[in-house]
Assembly symmetry: C2
Homo-oligomer: 247 residues x 2
């Protein structure tokens, strides 16, 4: 069943899933989604978030570890996933954070997840709309090149470390503002950085960054999303078969 | 083959493995160990550490993720393990960090590890010598209750968060000293905290802490080490069998 929530926030496409990334969904949204047969998911970074989301009526949980890109907590996927699976009491749980390969997907399933929720790996897909300057930096980066920083959104979010962070971390730099003031402060600057980096400006290329998880170190080429997906699934199945052979 | 390195640092027991936790082993130690048939291992938190350790001649690598207790880097086990397995080119790799259950062991094997290296879970063993005050705090803690802090050793090490860290983080507190000066500064204070906490002193109980990983949230009871080990292995085998059934 696919419903168009055309009255909500300019959504024009039929919806099959609403995923909440920061906080619990408003009760009206959950009620409406249930009436329309639309599943409601929530990303959680701590067990206490899962308790709140289940109380709010979400249908499935996404356990997002600290290694994920964007807004993350501090608990790693290896530790968080089994905790959320236990709290979910049979509701589906997807694991997120650190998953860009079939072996990592197999590990997530071993932890008890029903599936995986990938983000960073799609930034290496041909379909992704990020500019070339950003993608080139991702392909050159290692797993040590990310950090959780509040300097873009006002809340800690994992992103590629760049000269931007060096500037904000200087002893005489002001602390970032809380959400939503920090994005209001820096979004225009980021539009200029992105445009100048894409035009090849050296300073802008040093500043250039975007949200990405620690798996950035494993991204080596831009490939079609369908090819990435097929390889993750095939490698996951192969790894599970190999594990079975160890018994 | 088991050799007594009785001339080295007061070691009186036959050795089967030498594991280096901070930096590469001295060349003389590697040469001697190879002559005596003693395996040399190294804990690594970044791919570049693995490159250095392999150049130094270590026989096996332990990929230790940020979720581990003690001195850790920032890369999570989910991301680090496959990177180290790839660099090891067939040498054995153990995964460490976030592993205290059979499902977590199965996940580590799925990531390509040949085995696991557990630390925190032994702090919940009956054989462990930590004081009762510390163990009680571990059993009551959640996965959110650890942090990486340099306030004990001078280098970032994951430990249970306590009033100790609140004090060091006050705006007017001095920064911790580098290793090895910080342990010289605080080790006597820690002896007093441990003794007073064990005697039930309220302030000391608030300060009490020790090195532990994020799996602390899954420790619920003190059990014999043999029982912990047997359960991890049995649950790992069961989970691998369950995964096979999904294919």
């Amino acid at each position: 069943m696919r419903t168009a929530f055309t009255d909500l926030a300019g959504v024009e496409h039929p919806i099959t899933l609403i995923a909440n990334a920061l906080g619990t969904p408003p009760p009206g949204l959950v009620t409406r989604a249930k009436q329309e047969g639309v599943a409601v998911a929530a990303l959680v970074g701590q067990p206490k978030h899962a308790v709140r989301q289940l109380a709010a009526g979400v249908d499935l949980l996404i356990a997002q570890g600290t290694e994920a890109g964007g807004h993350t907590g501090t608990i790693a996927t290896m530790v968080l996933t089994p905790e959320i699976v236990q709290l979910a009491e049979g509701r589906p749980v997807l694991a997120a954070g650190g998953i860009a390969s079939g072996r990592q997907m197999a590990a997530a399933l071993a932890l008890g997840a029903d599936g995986v929720w990938c983000g960073s790996v799609w930034l290496s897909s041909a379909e992704d709309v990020a500019n070339t300057a950003t993608k080139d930096k991702f392909l050159a980066a290692t797993s040590s090149d990310t950090l959780r920083s509040p300097t873009r959104t006002g809340k800690p979010a994992r992103q590629l470390r760049s000269a931007w962070h060096d500037e904000w971390e200087r002893p005489n730099s002001p602390p970032p503002l809380p959400m939503p003031l920090q994005p209001l402060l820096v979004s225009e600057a980021w539009q200029r950085i992105d445009a100048a980096a894409e035009a090849g400006h050296e300073g802008a290329l040093r500043l250039e960054s975007f949200f990405i998880g620690q798996v950035v170190g494993s991204l080596r080429a831009v490939r079609p999303a369908a090819e990435i997906t097929r390889q993750i699934i095939a490698d996951c199945e192969q790894r599970i078969a190999e594990l079975g052979g160890m018994l």
